[in-house]
Amino acid sequence: MRWDEPAPREHDAEERSWQVVRAAWEERVASARPSLVRRRWPLIAFATALAVIAAALSPPGMAVLGSIKDAVRGRDNLVSLPAPGRILVNAPAGAWVVQHDGSKRFLSNYADAAWSPHGLYLAAARRNTLVALEPNGRVHWTLARSAPVGGPVWSYEGYRIAYLAGHALRVVNGDGTGDRLVAPNAVGTGLPAFAWRPGTHELAYKNGRNELVLVDADRSRVLWHRPTTGVERLLWSDDGDRLLVAAGPPVVLDAHGRTIATFPRRGVTPAAFVPHSRGLTLVTSVNGRSTVSVYSGPQYARRRVIFSGIGVFAGLAWSPDRRWLLVDWTTADQWVFIRVIPSPRVRTVSNISQTFGTGPESRFAVAGWCCP
């Protein structure tokens, strides 16, 4: 038996890896070279100290200091994302923005944060206030309501935000003006559910009578409605022609509310349309095992199993380039990044709850992977 034979793909892997290592090395060398920064160090250090003090006294600065403090408390294994873009995470203490290089910003005391379409802004809830802010924590506008605010969602181009205030579903313009009521009772039994149809200002929502409604939010006109049961989540495909009604059993509708496909009644929780496609990613759970599959075809009859594991998958998010799928594997306390194209590959990040300062009793939620 010989040990000196090349392993499969050894040479290809060597070339690819050398390019990566070389790039990392050149980046380090460039940052270590004597530069204008080094020669002017005393002046820059003084100016930086002033800026840090000023920033720390501002509300966003307080949030950043909080994030640094929290980050150093626990071990953080999330050192980079495998694809360009930024991931938004909602944790009980606030929202986290994870950059491609693994750096993170904690936005303290915000709930239900959501990306604007191009990732320039977030909409988030702070008790009775809806807040539009930049990912660095700078607040653009706030809108106070008389009831607790929750679940803001941006329309496709960022001109509208739908959100809940108490039991009411409301819509406000992206600049904080023109707030109006869409439905006084959009929260019945179960979870509220609403979603903007891409390319339009049409809003699908479940009302308090357990009806599924599509309304033109600008004209306050109901386009269609149909009875439904137990809706937990609504999701549109990017082309606005398919609507997933995550209920028991989950159903895919066309834009007119007609049923396209019905899935078996199983514990379906996370779901996501594949970006720029009508393909649907679903997690199903059977006998304690969760499976992520992509369903495709006119009636979603084709199923491709992507990943399976014991326990609970609490969240899914596609990378903006749709090459990677993030699976939040709660039971293993791991984020599993699965490269779907060009060739399958898996990267895991363990102890993920420590990264976001949560534990078994309080969990975070992946709110989206946005925008390079």
């Binding site: 038996m1 090349p6 392993a7 890896s17 070389r22 992507i306 014991i310």
Partner: protein
């Protein structure tokens, strides 16, 4: 590429001074064994690439502080093998399906020689801990004492894992290990 201890110290010194050519010499010298070690423990080419690549990245990040009097190889191999064991344990907890594309990728790059194929197959029957000591001993040619130090294990544990692993391999391959 020669690769004596003196060469290695020179590569590291000049790489610390910013020479990409010397970093490349260091990388090219150590890549084959780092990758093979990872592959023989994890039996997955993509994972082996990730493990070896990330181990080199970790080395690059720390190279400025690296003590040139120490050999580079054992330090790198410790990272590679421990990561490979962790990966294999984690994989045992999950089951990756959608195997059709995974299998097709693996099949396209299957090892050409029967020795490598049979060796990889026989190693796959061992636990990751046993694979690791076999790979450290026979691929990377460390002594049992050095393996014990690398993996943080008692010497007796290394010896017993070696013996048990080699017995299994010999049974499966029907030949003596070189």
């Amino acid at each position: 590429m020669a690769g004596s201890a003196r060469d290695e110290r020179a590569w590291i010194r000049r790489a610390q001074d910013g020479s990409v050519a010397d970093l490349e010499a260091l990388f090219r010298h150590h890549w084959p064994r780092a990758y093979r070690a990872a592959y023989l423990v994890v039996h997955d080419a993509a994972a082996a690439e990730d493990i070896a690549q990330e181990s080199f990245l970790a080395a690059v990040r720390s190279l400025e502080r690296f003590d040139r009097r120490r050999p580079f190889g054992p330090w790198l191999h410790r990272i590679v093998v421990n990561r490979a064991i962790d990966w294999t344990r984690a994989r045992a907890l999950r089951r990756e399906v959608g195997e059709a594309p995974l299998a097709s990728v693996a099949a396209a790059d299957a090892p050409d020689n029967p020795h490598a194929r049979s060796l990889a197959g026989a190693l796959a029957s061992l636990s990751p801990e046993h694979r690791a000591v076999i790979v450290l001993r026979h691929l990377l040619e460390y002594t049992p004492s050095e393996i014990a130090e690398l993996l943080g294990l008692p010497r007796g544990t290394v010896n017993s894992r070696l013996r048990r692993g080699l017995d299994t391999l010999e049974r499966m391959l029907g030949e003596e290990l070189e």
